[in-house]
Symmetry: C2
Subunit: 217 residues, 2 copies
DNA sequence: GTGTAATGTGAGCCATCCTCATATTTGTTA
DNA sequence: TAACAAATATGAGGATGGCTCACATTACAC
């Protein structure tokens, strides 16, 4: 069984945020408690300062239990990050699905950026996770993959609006826009609120003109 | 003396990459050896995997000597980062000093981006340092300050080309362009060469249109 | 040459991640 | 319900690596 997990994680590259899949309700609840404890601690001190022993204590489980489900410390952060990404992708898909015109696209995109920024402001844990992303190879890959998926969704819409556009080109623009969005968020939450807001506005203007340019004749 | 250092670092926020300033030639050379050793090890395994004991051994000094000059492991990375930033700022200043027209600005900026990208490709240590930036508060501040300085230089040129432009607005654009440049580099070196190059191109196009828009009537 | 300040050393302290042998709980079958 | 296997839980302690500190050595000033 353990063997099984290891193999799967090796080939799939994904999964493996958990080492053993919790099948009974008891263990599923405990895993939730562990993740919740991690959020609490990360919001208080940051993920670097978070100690595994504290996570265990806060969650009311033993160190051993923690390691039953998470192969290492970073796996906890990855797990939280994955949830954020899934949530984010769902927002992007929902918002972009209804787009019919270029103006609507710019509008939808702009509002996505706004709500994303709000998420960063209201959920401090996100900022930490997105920083941790940079120092963890696996997490970086996850984020890249996430951006690629979102970029594909955006490129789909763009392709609908400009059927003769070169697909690779559209996707490159969309991918960069997505990644620069992450970068802008990381930046905006590092400076004071007023400057942060202005940066997000500036980014939106850049993105809009990039989208316009990519969709133009 | 030690007291002095501590105080200065506390108030200045800067400096303090070194704990004790090497005044004799012998110690200055040793510090250089330590930094060189760190570069070697970071290029091989990354700064996370770099062990202080290895740095000491590679540099041919004792652990204690290392800690005479660097208060902690991150201080070494910070020290390397500062050197890169100083070098980068000098490039930016030199290149932008000769700009007289809008077209020349776009040309100079574009060539700066290109050479910066080349630096990332040819000096793997830079990628690692720029990643470490994200997880270190002090280093993040250094990078922000670096971007601000470069943004001011760029905004100066923009102001020359558009004397009636609102300064704060120009600087916001310039600052974001600088930061997104960092982000694009980090991204471009994380993907394969072909995609990396296309991303840099896309970024340049976005930057150019942002600069054009900011300078337009 | 003598004294002082600067510099160098490395054994070992300590925090923290993570393992593993063992104990407990749950679900299943007869 | 008893008996058994599979799943789950535990925490002492091994391993690693950052960092300290008491002491040794070297450079420099007079």
């Amino acid at each position: 069984m353990d063997q099984d997990e290891t193999d799967r994680s090796k080939e799939a590259g994904e999964q493996s945020a958990v080492r053993r899949t919790p099948s009974q309700r008891r263990s599923r609840e405990r895993v939730e408690r562990m993740l919740a404890a991690a959020v609490t601690l990360i919001e208080r001190d940051g993920s670097d300062a978070m100690r595994m022993s504290d996570v265990a204590e806060t969650a009311g489980v033993s160190i051993g239990s923690l390691y039953q489900y998470f192969p290492d410390k970073m796996a906890i952060v990855r797990s939280l990050a994955e949830r954020c990404m899934i949530e984010g992708r769902s927002c992007v898909e929902t918002e972009l699905a209804k787009v019919q015109t270029c103006d609507e696209l710019l509008q939808s995109w702009s509002s996505l950026v706004d709500s994303y920024y709000q998420m960063f402001l209201t959920r401090p844990v996100m900022r930490d996770i997105w920083c941790a992303t940079q120092s963890d190879c696996r997490l970086r890959e996850l984020e890249l993959e996430d951006s690629r998926i979102n970029a594909r969704v955006l490129a789909d819409v763009m392709a609908r609006l400009k059927p003769d556009g070169e697909r690779a080109q559209l996707e490159a623009v969309a991918f960069l826009i997505m990644q620069l969005c992450e970068a802008t968020m990381r930046l905006a939450v590092s400076v004071d609120a007023a400057e942060g807001e202005r940066l997000v506005e500036t980014y939106k203007r850049m993105g809009i003109s990039a989208l316009r340019a990519a969709l133009a004749r």
